[in-house]
């Protein structure tokens, strides 16, 4: 059992990158993700009762690998292909598998910037990515 890593830290980002690159599930499901198009994602965690301030996670993704994972200061990032934005509480539901990311996107609860059709077309890649994020032992902020 790995020790939980505080969410929002460089150490957590490094752990996520390693998780993605070690995952055969992601490697297979995302083999075509980011090939011929910009597959970099910005996951936007909006502040709510469970998160004191917003966090923006940038992931450089292509061909089933994660080249870079880092929290960035702005909601926009020039290298982003797609951004997914939701209140932190919804992200928790997704990461704890109480809500499917696809359902959150399709019901509009999770906002998408970028070509939604491309995102939906690669549903398996994004499902596998979410699984990787959920697999990182995480110490989430305590509700305030």
């Amino acid at each position: 059992m790995r020790d939980p890593i505080p969410f929002g830290t460089p150490a957590w980002c490094a752990a996520l990158r390693d998780e993605v690159n070690a995952s055969s599930e992601y490697r297979n499901a995302a083999a075509k993700w980011g090939v011929g198009f910009n597959g970099n994602l910005l996951l936007d965690f909006e502040a709510d009762a469970d998160l004191p301030g917003p966090l923006h996670l940038f992931l450089a993704l292509a061909g089933g690998r994660c080249e870079r994972a880092e929290f960035v200061t702005e909601r926009t990032h020039q290298e982003t292909g797609f951004s997914l934005r939701a209140p932190f509480s919804l992200w928790r539901e997704v990461l704890e598998r109480r809500t499917l990311a696809a359902t959150a996107i399709l019901t509009g609860k999770m906002k998408v910037e970028g070509d939604k059709l491309t995102l939906l077309k690669h549903a398996g890649a994004n499902r596998a990515l979410i699984h990787c994020v959920a697999s990182v032992p995480t110490e989430f902020p305590t509700p305030h």
């Binding site: 599930e25 499917l100 059709l117 499902r127």
Partner: protein, 471 residues
Amino acid sequence: MTALKKEFQAKVAGSVRAGGEVSPAQTTNFGHLFHSTPRLLLEPRGADDVVAAIAFARAKGLTLSSRGAGHSQSHVGVSDGGLLLSMVSMGRVLRVDADALTVDVEAGIAWGDLLRHLEPLGLAPPVLTNNLNVTVGGTLSIAGIGVASFRHGTQGDQVVELDVATGSGELITCGPDREPDLFWSVIAGLGQVGIITRARLRLRRVKPMTRTYYLLYDDARRFMEDARAAMDSGKWDHLESWASPSPQGTKPVNGRRQIFARWFFPFHPTVEFDPKSPPNDDALLAGLRPTEKLYVDDLPTYEFFARLAPVFDLWKRGGTWEHVHAWTESVMPWETTPDLLDALLPDLPPSILVGGHILLWPAKGTTSRSRLFMRPEGENLMGFGVLPAIPPQFWTEAKPMVEVVSRLSVAMGGKRYLSGYVDFTEAEWRDHFGPMWEPFVQAKHRWDADGILNPGFVPLDSRRPVAVPTA
């Protein structure tokens, strides 16, 4: 006998049962997701009984629902404390006009029973559903699609005339040129404005034999190119196709290993023929590029119509007929169908298709005039259906996946086919009907002002809440 039952029985010729006397099968439908008991159930003898039942329901402040073979999967064909009409008691063939090529039937007749009547005459309706045990009134209320729809449109497009008992209690004869607003509000109208009591259906002469080519494709896009070529060639009478899984082992999905499949695309073009002039196989198949030609099957045409009966029998004997059927059928734009298949098939466990299958039906959007059978713009369309049989104990687990299939198909430009399990919000219903929503609401108010007919599914009347699954 309760006083209410006695009072109702005095007004109708058909048999009336109280809620406690209704068979368990009549408290649910093929979906096994909704379970509710009517206050009274009537097996009407004829249109007069239907009109009398509507008058009785209105006088007593009850809702009135209608049920054919009960093959729907949403809150359709069931009643929660209202009157329920079991229309299968109205199953007669009234008149065949072999010169005009029409047949008049009562609405509760099953398509298979109608075919048995027409077979000696060499006649058949142009479009037949795969399951012939469903009723004429039931499928006309949804639209009615089959493997000949790419040529002929829906079953609703084959209707010459209807007798409809409206929610206001009138019995009105209507057709495409006679009371057309009522007619087109009844065809694919989910029983919201009236109950069909009689239908005059168009017929065609059939050739005695069919030849079906069992072609197999390993690539969805090449299959679709050939399906479009087959539709455009004008050579074929019926086109049927599926997506079929070949299990390959297990892979992780959300961290849990599940069976995954390589998907193949069987395509079965069929032509009718006279035994004296059998089809020219090479000419028919010219230009098609299947991975493999598996089998060529000659079958008497009426047996072809019933070709899936052994499959349904197997599902019944295997017990999966009693499972939860949350079928998700959509009419997709041709252009986004490959994307939908790419998105859904890789993670779809083939085990959910035990007792079910995945349909792919090439179709032409131009063949139907139905106003309420919603389909995407475009000449070429693809019917796509994930038809699982889910053991009841797995329903809670499977439900999110079913919802994703539905919402993904809609997000990719598809329109749901409404006989399956539909869990729309009111906003989604409005989106589904688009510009037809307001006319549909107006039709409901005009012909069913009290909002008594078939509540619980499409929220046309704000006084009637939408039902939630009880499975």
